[in-house]
């Protein structure tokens, strides 16, 4: 599974996997609702729109597909990128699809118009775009060229912040003032959006090879990130201390990187990927969970069952060639 996302209200979750399908689940009950097939290669990210009517997904086949949830048919297939598309996001109203790809561009597609070309292309990144976050008037792009770029649509400006290492994941805080960026030197940084200053940095997990996602808890109290050694780490936002870790390894005790995670928008509930399984973590309060030591995972769902010819998940690898870093 390459990515797991809650929908806007947190009732459903979307998973995109290496078996070229996007699946819609009810994470609380564990039942799959629908499967969307249409990608030619593995699906790298999937997101749902505000009204739960449409989905957006992107994949290694350079496609960005805009699905209709009810019928399960792709409404639009945008073939505009020249490299695999790493991440996709909807805007606040669900009318624009913003996708970032390995070809170092971020393309904005208008879902409501009939055009198949992107409305705008952001070409400022020098290397693969690894992650995108969208707020109601900003687009944050994190890319492997060690930059976090904030495009402020309201002011008409772009701020580029340099990080010491390639940026693998960006996300907004709930109040929209800060951007959380994780980079390949195994640190997460909370960057103030207006000034570019790093307010806090969090480390203690492992992230030097693969693209690991981060997120914030629903009340901005904690910073959560996956790790390459199969853990999920929680830090206190303000103090920066590692508060808790969850081990989500399989019974075989092999370490699978936790690539993607998603936090419920309101409740205290976390979704993590673990290989080909999505784990749902629930707990009342992380602090009390810290005391008890371990938050029991409520359900394990076997996701994306093994098919004939199923390529087991290989997290994105990295090779250094001169100045380019491929992820």
């Amino acid at each position: 599974i390459r990515s797991v996302r809650f929908n806007v209200a947190g009732e459903y979750c979307l998973t995109g996997g290496s078996d070229k399908s996007v699946r819609l689940w009810n994470p609380h009950s564990g039942f799959p609702i629908k499967t969307y097939m249409g990608h030619g290669q593995e699906v790298l990210d999937a997101v749902s729109s505000v009204g739960n009517t449409h989905l957006g997904s992107c994949g290694a086949d350079k496609l960005v597909i805009y699905w209709d949830v009810a019928t399960g048919a792709p409404v639009r297939k945008y073939r505009s990128h020249t490299g695999r598309v790493n991440c996709v996001e909807f805007n606040e109203e669900g009318t624009l699809l913003i996708s970032g790809s390995y070809d170092a561009t971020v393309r904005i597609f208008d879902c409501k118009s009939r055009r198949y070309e992107p409305v705008q292309t952001l070409t400022e990144a020098q290397d693969s775009v690894s992650s995108i976050a969208v707020s109601d008037h900003e687009i944050v792009v994190g890319s492997i060229d060690c930059r976090v770029r904030v495009y402020d649509i309201r002011m008409g400006q772009m701020h580029a912040d340099c990080m010491p290492e390639s940026v693998t994941s960006v996300s907004f805080t709930r109040d929209g003032q800060c951007v959380l960026a994780s980079s390949l030197d195994s640190t997460l940084r909370l960057v103030d959006k207006n000034t570019g200053q790093v307010l806090c940095s969090y480390s203690g997990h492992e992230n030097s090879k693969y693209s690991i996602e981060n997120c914030l808890s629903s009340k901005d109290t904690h910073v959560i990130s996956g790790s390459e050694d199969g853990r999920v780490c929680f830090w206190d936002l303000v103090e920066g201390k590692l508060v808790h870790t969850i081990n989500c390894q399989k019974a075989k005790d092999d370490k699978v990187a936790v690539e993607s995670l998603s936090y419920h928008p309101k409740q205290c509930c976390l979704l993590t990927t673990c290989g080909d399984v999505v784990k749902v973590w629930k707990g009342d309060d992380w602090k009390t969970a810290q005391d008890t030591g371990h938050i029991p995972g409520t359900e394990e769902k076997r996701d994306h069952p093994v098919l004939v010819g199923y390529v087991p998940d290989c997290p994105r690898e990295m090779t250094l060639t001169k100045q380019f870093r491929k992820i």
Binding site: H137, I153, G156, Q157, A160, P164, D175, G176, D192, G196
Partner: protein
Amino acid sequence: MSQGDTFVSIGTPFEVPENDDDFVRKKPVPVHEQVAVDWKGRRRFHGAFTGGFSAGHFNTVGTVEGWAPKSFTSCHEERAGGKYAQRPEDFMDDEDLGEFGIAPRHVATHRDFTHPENQHSAAGREESRRNVLDAHHAVIPGVAPLHDLVIPASQTVGARLLKRMGWREGQGIGPKQQRPLDKSGGGSGHPVQTKGEASNGESAQWAFAPRDVDVSDMPVLVGRHGLGYKGMDAGRTAVLQSKMRANPSSALKITGQAFGVGAYETQDADVYDVDDMASYDQTMGASDHADPFFGWSGSHDQHLDGGDSLSAFAKAKHPNPPRRIFRAPDLPREFKPYHQFKDGPKKSASSMGLVEKSMTSNTRGQLLGEQRLQDMSVLSLLSAEDRERLAKAKQQQPPPAAASGGVEASLASPSGRKTSPQSIPSSVEGAQRLAQSSAVAAAAASVSLASRFSSSSSVSGPGHFKPYASDPDKQQRYEVVASGQDYVRPPNFTEWEEQREREEFGRASQLYRPLGGAMAARFTPATGKDGEPEVQKDTVLAEHVTDPTDQMSAARAKMFGRLTRTTLEWHPDRAVCKRFNIPDPYPNSTFSGLRTEAANKKANFMDMDFARANAPQSTPVLQLEPADEPAPSDAAPKELSSFQPVASADDQQSEARQASAVTFKISSEPMKPRSRPAPSGPLSILNNKSRTH
């Protein structure tokens, strides 16, 4: 039964089958024995061709007797039609032409005679002919196909009455007229007075019923021409028939294969028509008065002018009286062509409608007979605790004046709503609000604004980010403005600089809202590795161009913020703004994305508006100039490098992704030697205290 011995006297006797077998068959007739047989007993094949035309008579042989050679005629028409034409009926036999064949012949009444009482046969023919000849210009050309589709089933009453009186279809109505047999079929059709003499050799004068009234359909006007317009007729117009020779005055008048055309060439079609303007001359009809009657085809007995052609009118004896012109009326001297109202009674304050506006609460209280609240303020209603709290809050933060909200409004900006709700502890905020409301009663709007922006009032507290930290005077001015007081102009500032600063402050206050209260306490601004004061960094960052390698090194050294940040002007596409529901920040921009070099050059000359507080967003040329001058006014745009749109690194975006950082930015190279003598290493930047900017 004996043959020939019939006892039947009436009718025809049955045919008695001779053999008993034929009478009744025990078994039903199987399918393969059910054969179709025609009337002669010949085996039929359901009408299919069973082979063999009679090669004799119908095809090649001319007659029943046989083929006789005939003389050769090379006339195509005779072969196609005429006596040698073959019809399908030639190949049919009696069975096909019979009642149940494929081409049954039957006798039917002609259409003219089957038409019921509506049309007399002859009249029907006439009308159909007239319809065709009329050039029916209806939408469906030709004879109206549905004309006869709907025919009234019964006669009208009038038709029946007329018939009783001797009228027949196709006749006109009126007394019988005597006219000669008119075989021409044309003419005006008007009844002509009979004369005694014979004309044209027809002495017989018959009394005919008058001709029926012509009901001719008006041709539907198609197009935008006038009535009766006819386009150019190809057969008649000289223009469309122009066959002018290319060289009309050549000596050789005869042309052809032997004349003027070589033996090995063929005469080409004359494509070189020369147009003569005279061919475009057209005249309507014949002039020269060739026809004295101007096309009048009626009787020529009467003259057109004078005479009794229009017997109802007679020529006038007296001419018309001359037309009278009436003069305009005389206007009085003070005449005004518009209406003026006389002034009504002047509106006084005592009139009912305006009383409320001019009344104050005091006068209103007086009118109502209330007791005045003298020497009482709202604060006395508070409890003691609240008063203490209020006093404490007042001490902590200077209470913003009423003009604080006014400041925000006056430093005008079209921004949208605030995005970041500040999580300010509610007690402080509440105390602030109370303080404001007690201070100023009238400006309710500004109070609410001020309370919203109350966090920005605390700009001078410790640990707050100062936008102009490097210039303490400017920072102070900014704080003064942000806390709501009027902008104080320093003595050495020109008017233009003052205006620029004002706008800068306005923009800074919009862009930057320092975290207030508890949130601010949670974060500490990043300091340098050596704990260097911020002043140093700001001077370093005064130039907009930070080399990316420097940025990287700064990032590695964990000195984030100015060093690692570049800000560029980015134009979102119009559709993007629409979908995000955000007003376009650059409504007049012609491009989207970052500015490229080419666009930059144009922008130099188009929007060089120095009245704006923007740092010049331009090529290095303009950047060099302020860099050279050590004027203090230019410190202003430099410090705002993180806020102002700066086109420092736009070229880097326009190029393709370059691997080398040196070629990252073309415009940086000339800057480099001037600005930084030692452009390597982070420490050298920090040590570069003496700057010529």
